[in-house]
Point group: C2
């Protein structure tokens, strides 16, 4: 049994329980470099220092899944934040759920991020792995490096409803 979900627009207010929207919209603007540069300042709460962690910069290259996209698992990082920023100005999908021990399919929230919007998942926030809409979609990533694998996965049971993004 499946049920269709359609994404909501990604806004700072709607995303606040899950993390930061990384965007120039509404940011603190500083004029620097003799007036040749505007700095949109401090757009995400990077939280990577716990347990001897350090911030990493990586690039993710994502491939689209078949549509509609079935949502059968979620993941989270308990000791580090994870930021994604799109590098080709392409819209992409963000799926999150409240910070509880487990996830129910009904908890899923689906957002359509614009190509000038990144997100930073706060520690412990359930999120779906990267969902892009076009082949070879690149993102700059800022997340935690350190000892141990900071990844928890939650797979829905076979008898649970599966939601699909249409």
């Amino acid at each position: 049994m499946t049920r269709a979900l359609s994404p909501s627009p990604l806004t700072k207010q709607a995303f606040a329980p899950f993390g930061d929207v990384i965007t120039t919209d509404g940011a603190t603007e500083l004029s620097i470099n003799e007036g040749t540069t505007t700095r949109f300042h401090d757009l995400a709460e990077v939280d990577t220092a716990a347990d001897g962690g350090r911030p990493l910069i990586s690039i993710f290259r994502g491939q689209p899944r078949s549509r509609p996209v079935p949502l059968y698992m979620m993941e989270r990082h308990l000791i580090g934040s994870q930021a994604f920023y799109p590098l080709q100005n392409r819209p992409w999908l963000v799926v999150v759920a409240e910070r509880r021990d487990s996830v129910a399919p009904e908890d899923l929230r689906v957002f359509l991020a614009q190509g000038h919007q990144g997100v930073n998942y706060h520690r412990g926030v359930w999120h779906h792995p990267l969902l892009v809409l076009e082949p070879d979609s690149d993102f700059l990533i800022v997340d935690r490096g350190g000892t141990g694998m900071d990844l928890e996965e939650f797979w829905f049971r076979e008898d649970q409803k599966i939601f699909e993004i249409i």
Copy 2:
């Protein structure tokens, strides 16, 4: 008196004394997310923890300077690295100098970065403020936040040769 400089291609090898080139080329590749994502892993040495610092994510929007570009000052951050990644796949200019107490105009190294190349200036590396070639050129920035202003500027004397990028 001015002297013209033309930029060299930006390569990891040539840039190694100054910092990291952030690029998928030559990176460690990990397949994640059920094979739908390639992670180009750990591309820069983010170094923002000294003196109670924390990593910041910001966006810089740069405007081009007049050409040829005169190089009359350099700056550095003594206790934090600073990473720049272009968001519109546009080539841009990188100017650096060796880590000494002061800068001589003859020390300047000028690179042309491609639109899929970011850089991460290591702590204490002299660099020119952002130099873009087209209006409204956006970059994702990862640098250090914390107490105090971690910025040192070095202005060339009026009787020194000024180099220009042609």
